[in-house]
Symmetry: C2
């Protein structure tokens, strides 16, 4: 058991997110608010639509006037006028009466329903036949059916999709208070890392993490600042870390696939002002050598150097922190239930994340594990998502039901 000594489990790490403060807020135009996060509950200022509204072209009536009406025994109603668009009706409607109304028109006092024009025929200038009965409320949207004045329509912390934007538009909201997108600084560390346009020699690898992590951060709705590659020198990593902390709400350092780089990251974290290492190793695979520190209130992550390990840790641990720091309480990973196409072995004492491809067999979704060394980015390209094999499991078997957490 000694190798898991002092290693935190995933739930413990995720539980630490609440100790990090959320970012500042701003007011922006509604048409820029897609994907942004509401700062306060949104309450309806007025009833919506605000008046009883017809959903059809026809006649506003009292439903009781139509009861029993049919093709062979129509109801005869007296037309008292036409409801002009954009106007409050001047007439009232009593039993035996009807008022011409268009889609969207305001129901006159007394009327509780609308007869579709297709179910009527004119007899003379002032009289119509009605061939079908209507129920109270039929073909009408009540004045507070979309929203009642004072009702809470959206909760603080909601990330705005097209429909929430639409609801705000329907309520006449042209500007909205949202959290700033969190700014995340990304540093690649390690003497072995070279820029992507260099040809790696023996012992060298291209700086893939700066690109994958930046893409993952952007998919969370956060902003990215990259700080390039920093070699395994204490002063350099300290200086770059300090700059990144000052300029961002969170910092990710990838590297440390070798013990030397990992130790260096820990030394730098210890040297940063107001810094406290919260996590040094997580019971997750891939991704065990993950470090989390709080530096002047901000999260500072040391992520593994292997690209796939860093991506998995990002999905499982970093992303929920970005959501929290960005004020969001509505983010949940998208999961698809499926069955495994083959057995997968696993070690106890850690959560294993297996890359899988979703395939459909006999109309059912199946999760096909992608094999290959964990360092190979191609295994991520071939995959649609991750399956977690839990701490106390020795593996999962062909046909077992699993949840596939989809890549964003």
């Amino acid at each position: 058991m000694k190798e898991f000594f002092n290693v935190a489990d995933i739930a413990t790490v995720l539980g630490m997110a609440v100790d990090f403060p959320t970012v500042a807020t701003e007011k922006i135009a509604l048409d820029e608010a897609l994907g942004r996060v509401l700062v306060v509950d949104f309450q309806a200022e007025d009833d919506l639509p605000g008046f009883d509204r017809s959903t059809m072209d026809g006649y506003a009536v009292c439903a009781t006037s139509t009861y029993g009406a049919g093709e062979s025994n129509p109801a005869y109603l007296t037309v008292t006028g036409t409801i002009g668009m954009g106007q409050t009706p001047a007439m009232t409607v009593s039993a035996g009466q009807a008022a011409r109304i268009s889609t969207g028109g305001m129901l006159p006092p007394g009327a509780d329903s609308v007869v579709m024009i297709e179910h009527t025929a004119p007899i003379d200038e002032q009289t119509i036949e009605v061939y079908r009965s209507v129920a109270p409320g039929q073909n009408v949207v009540a004045k507070d059916e979309d929203a009642a004045k004072g009702e809470i329509l959206l909760r603080a912390g909601t990330r705005l999709r097209a429909q929430e934007i639409g609801l705000l538009a329907a309520c006449g909201v042209a500007t909205v208070a949202v959290f700033m997108p969190p700014a995340v600084g990304i540093i690649s560390s390690g003497d072995e890392v070279v820029p992507i346009d260099a040809v790696p020699r023996s012992g060298q690898v291209r700086d893939v993490n700066s690109y994958t992590l930046a893409a993952q951060v952007r998919r969370c709705g956060a902003r990215v600042r990259t700080y390039g590659i920093v070699g395994d020198r204490f002063d350099d990593l300290l200086a770059t870390s300090q700059r990144a902390l000052a300029e961002n709400d969170m910092v990710l350092v990838s590297g440390g696939s070798s013990v030397g780089t990992r130790d260096l990251t820990v030394e730098v974290l210890a040297a940063l002002p107001q810094s406290r290492i919260l996590v040094h190793g997580v019971s997750i695979s891939p991704g065990k050598p993950t470090i989390l520190a709080q530096c002047a209130g901000k999260a500072f992550w040391g992520l593994p150097g292997h690209v796939t390990s860093a991506m998995v840790v990002f999905m499982v641990l970093v992303r929920p922190f970005i959501s929290h720091v960005g004020g969001c309480t509505s983010d949940v990973p998208v999961c698809v239930p499926a069955r495994l196409t083959r057995n997968v072995a696993s070690a106890q004492g850690r959560v294993d994340y297996v890359r899988v491809r979703l395939v459909v067999k006999d109309g059912q979704p199946w999760a096909e594990p992608i094999m290959g060394a964990s360092g190979l980015i191609r295994t991520m390209v071939a995959a649609d998502g991750l399956v977690a094999i839990h701490m106390n499991s020795e593996g999962v078997e062909q046909g077992d039901s699993v949840d596939v957490m989809l890549f964003a």
Copy 2:
């Protein structure tokens, strides 16, 4: 059956997408390529990693030299040197020999595997004990394991996620040819539509569609130009439509919840140069009064005025067209299998899209239909996705298995 006469089914409409040309292409920096679409197949220019690479700190050996080694009967190997980082090894390794190597180092000729340093002990300057056997290839990534020179790694039409960006970075690709994001023009039509900061009077509605459709277009990775509200006047709608067609790759006109506006859209389409109406009514609910025309090669959609109807038609019909025009062949809607919590009735002869909320009961996903008039945007806010009830079905029953197409 007459009401469905001349109405196209969904598959027929979707099949028309191939008749629309794709947008132009551009070369951009890899770090701006997230969500963009590859123009041509991406082929590996070189083997990746390019040399047999150690994944551990230890000794490069011939696996056969370690066969049978164990704690009680170690193998004794002669150390012939150290492989310097960033250098091509100067030595070769024969049976009975070993070369010191670090993670990422290049294997010397003759060696086919790496013994972890933890499984060895030094005897003297030139000799080590090895306590475990290794198999050929163990702790080594082969020189073409991530990619073999000439191999097609990504197909044209792939939308780039974080991992595809990472694969391109690993291959040293700093700029990439992608399709331009399609530009989509959005027009709201109808005398009854008022700006969202106005207070609607009887017969009026706020211009919600410009906001919801813009958000949906952006979620597809396309660009938006909005043209505001145009009243029910032929000349105005014609002029705005012409401008929007000239400035964009696709145009959406929403409105036409009343017959008058719908007819006007058709008249305008007929008057546009090089215009042909392909679809006038679709067997879908909500969304039946949908119009599609091809105008000078571009798709021009007439969408329903009801916000929820327009959103559903966008998801089911417009989005696949935007994918196609944007060059993408890899977009598929994200679907979650679930079981229905209650019966839902449906009319034959059309596909009904029911809004549902996903809930978990007994660890299984269930789809709970959201009730309420289709015009209510709140029904979309409460929902996670749509369930299709097929053409020849009279409905689905509680407990039936369905696929939930998630909102983007």
